[in-house]
């Protein structure tokens, strides 16, 4: 707690994907195109903290999550885990660090091998890292299964993914992520596929596990209500950049960036007395191949001034560590 080194520190992270040129496209023939999926993202995570990465499709939030675990290599920038820059590590060094950082994906059924029993799936990491003998591993798996609510563990251990429900499958994926006692978990839309009542169960489970296992989460979601419920701090992304970051109270109560405001205003509130009355931003999220100049949001922003088109607005402190990237703030 008192340690000042953040668990994870991401600095000026950039990830570009090259799109193969289309030989039939006359306009673009001869040039390779670059998608600027992540465009200069910086944030840090303290131990025990939950940071939400919120944004629409194409905002770069999932790519950022993968870069944070070095499941992708960044084009530029650094990812420091307890001060160690992951981007400079050799594959073997990275492999030794992997148990400490895990990922939970959106679709549990496509994250599980249909040919592996769920017990074997949860045990897989323990097998790979050769921890304990077989009986110890099986016991550990059963304890884990019980802690995530997969009971009776003895009975479910031998089941295959198609024999369990979607909610149970997500618990398997979470148990698997926990098997190697990680410190850090990236959860990429872990509840998006689940049914309403299952979502609440998974959210409560994630909260409880965080406390029990002293975990730190990077929680990726498109649903701001979920982010508000689960996270300590929230970063809002738009076209590869963080436009606003702060504690959830600051970001949700006093949003500064016009995009954050638009997003918050668009969230349907489950209360018919609170129907939305505000105008929505014009148009749709532009292509990340040809992003707008200056502030990416300026073509849709109701407050845009000519200066917005010129330079990228820096993330500036608007009070108490709450930062927003808008020249009008």
């Amino acid at each position: 707690m008192a340690n000042d080194t953040p668990l994870l520190e991401v600095t000026d992270l950039v990830k570009e994907f090259t799109v193969r040129k289309n030989p039939f496209d006359k306009v673009l023939a001869g040039q390779d195109l670059k998608v600027h999926a992540v465009d200069g993202v910086s944030f840090s995570l303290k131990k025990g903290e939950v940071l939400g990465l919120a944004g629409e499709s194409g905002s770069g939030k999932s790519t950022t999550g993968r870069l944070a675990l070095r499941l992708l290599d960044p084009t530029d920038g650094s990812v420091k885990f307890e001060g160690t820059d992951l981007t400079t590590l050799k594959a073997e060094e990275m492999r030794l660090l992997r148990p400490r950082m895990q990922m939970v994906f959106q679709d549990p059924l496509s994250s599980l091998s249909p040919r592996m029993t769920i017990g074997a799936a949860i045990r897989h990491g323990l097998d790979i890292h050769n921890l304990g003998d077989k009986k110890d591993r099986d016991d550990k798996v059963k304890t884990l299964m019980e802690s995530v609510g997969l009971t009776p563990a003895d009975f479910l251990f031998k089941k295959y993914p198609h024999q369990i429900s979607g909610g149970q499958a997500q618990r398997v994926v979470i148990a698997r992520a926990l098997a190697l006692n990680p410190d850090f978990i990236v959860a990429d839309e872990p509840i998006a596929m689940a049914d309403v009542s299952v979502r609440a169960l998974i959210m409560e489970l994630l909260k409880k596990l965080k406390d029990d296992h002293d975990l730190t989460y990077l929680f990726i979601t498109h649903d701001l209500a979920t982010a508000k419920y689960l996270c300590d701090r929230v970063a809002v992304m738009y076209l590869g950049r963080i436009v606003e970051i702060g504690t959830k109270d600051e970001v949700f109560r006093h949003p500064h960036h016009p995009y954050t405001k638009a997003l918050l205003n668009a969230v349907p509130v489950p209360d018919p007395a609170r129907r939305r009355t505000h105008e929505l931003p014009r148009g749709e999220i532009p292509s990340a191949v040809f992003p707008p100049s200056g502030c990416h949001f300026h073509p849709r922003c109701p407050f845009a001034v000519p200066a917005c088109q010129e330079a990228r607005p820096p993330l500036r402190d608007v009070g108490g560590g709450h930062r927003s990237a808008c020249i009008l703030n």
């Binding site: 609440a200 508000k228 997003l263 969230v267 509130v269 489950p270 209360d271 939305r276």
Partner: protein, 328 residues
């Protein structure tokens, strides 16, 4: 204003499968007045999509309507001969499906999709007239007329979803059924779609049925909401009453397990367990095994959907015992 456009009476739908019969919809009765929006809310397997499909009699074989009536302007669609049903489909009642990318043909331009719909119901329509109609509807949807020459993959997800509703509306139907119309959309696009639907409803005096698990969506759109559980309506009331004074424990659980961005929630209510299988629906109340307020009677006798307050129906034995202002 208040005449009933669609009345579903005691509708049941069965799917015979190898191990028995799935009773997907079990005795559902609902009413939708002209110009209003009914939200049908439920989780996967509650029968909500089957119910929506049955209105247009699109339930896929071997599924079949095994009882009850679907009265549209007094006409029973459940027993209408197929050739007459085809005249109703698309023309009087339109359906907007969940995923626009799988509902649009990737090899057809947008205008061709519209031609197909128009031709099916107006075989004599001339091209210039059709183009005028298409141009008009695209303008209503906020899409440039020129985009009618585009293929589906050239449009954004939000535009495709607007095309879907446009295809539904081009024949000026009286009723539109939307099955999870916004699941594939981002929040701002979703909000735009909600605005569009509300505007079209006003302009065309549309009656809308929205089928969804998204409580935020029905809170924005619906006048009335029916909550479906295990193929039955467990509660049917105005949107206000469903969200502010839900009577059924399932509705109460559903509403309090959803994070609300307007509130500072410490903990969400959780409902353990899952809905029962519908091959052999349980005796008594289908929600009893998961219900926090279950009593002995719930497990042996099925509660009926009763009007407990004016316009507010629910199917639960507990109601009345707990609410003293309704005490016997």
């Amino acid at each position: 204003m208040n005449d009933v456009l669609l009345r579903i009476e005691d509708l049941s739908i069965d799917y015979p499968i190898a191990i028995g019969t799935v009773h997907a919809v079990r005795g559902v009765s609902l009413e939708v007045p002209t110009g209003q929006t009914l939200g049908i809310v439920g989780e996967s397997g509650s029968g909500k999509s089957t119910l929506g499909l049955s209105i247009l009699r699109l339930v896929r074989a071997p599924g079949k309507i095994s009882g009850g009536r679907v009265l549209f302007e007094g006409l029973d669609l459940a027993s209408l001969p197929e050739h007459e049903m085809r005249r109703v489909r698309g023309k009087d009642i339109a359906m907007v499906f969940q995923n626009p990318l799988t509902s649009l043909n990737p090899l057809m331009r947008i205008d061709q999709h519209f031609f197909e719909v128009l031709k099916a119901h107006k075989p004599d329509i001339k091209r210039p007239e059709a183009l005028t109609l298409i141009g008009g509807i695209l303008t209503d949807l906020g899409i440039e007329e020129g985009r009618m020459r585009a293929y589906p993959h050239q449009l954004s997800g939000g535009m495709r979803q607007r095309i879907m509703i446009g295809l539904g509306l081009i024949l000026r139907p009286k009723l539109v059924i939307c099955d999870e119309p916004t699941t594939a959309l981002d929040v701002i696009v979703e909000a735009g779609f909600i605005d569009l639907l509300k505007r079209l409803q006003k302009d065309f005096n549309l009656t809308i049925v929205v089928i969804t698990h998204n409580l935020g969506l029905v809170a924005e759109l619906a006048d009335r909401i029916a909550v479906l559980y295990a193929g039955q309506v467990v509660e049917d009331a105005t949107a206000q009453d469903i969200f502010h004074e839900p009577l059924h424990p399932y509705t109460q659980g559903l509403i309090s397990c959803v994070p609300n961005i307007d509130l500072d929630q410490e903990k969400l209510t959780t409902m353990e367990g899952s809905p029962p299988g519908l091959v052999d629906p349980p005796v008594g109340c289908a929600f009893a095994p998961r219900c926090p307020k279950v009593m002995g009677r719930c497990r042996v006798q099925e509660p009926e959907l009763i009007e407990h307050r004016p316009g507010h129906k629910a199917a639960c034995w507990r109601i009345g015992q707990e609410a003293p202002h309704h005490g016997e």
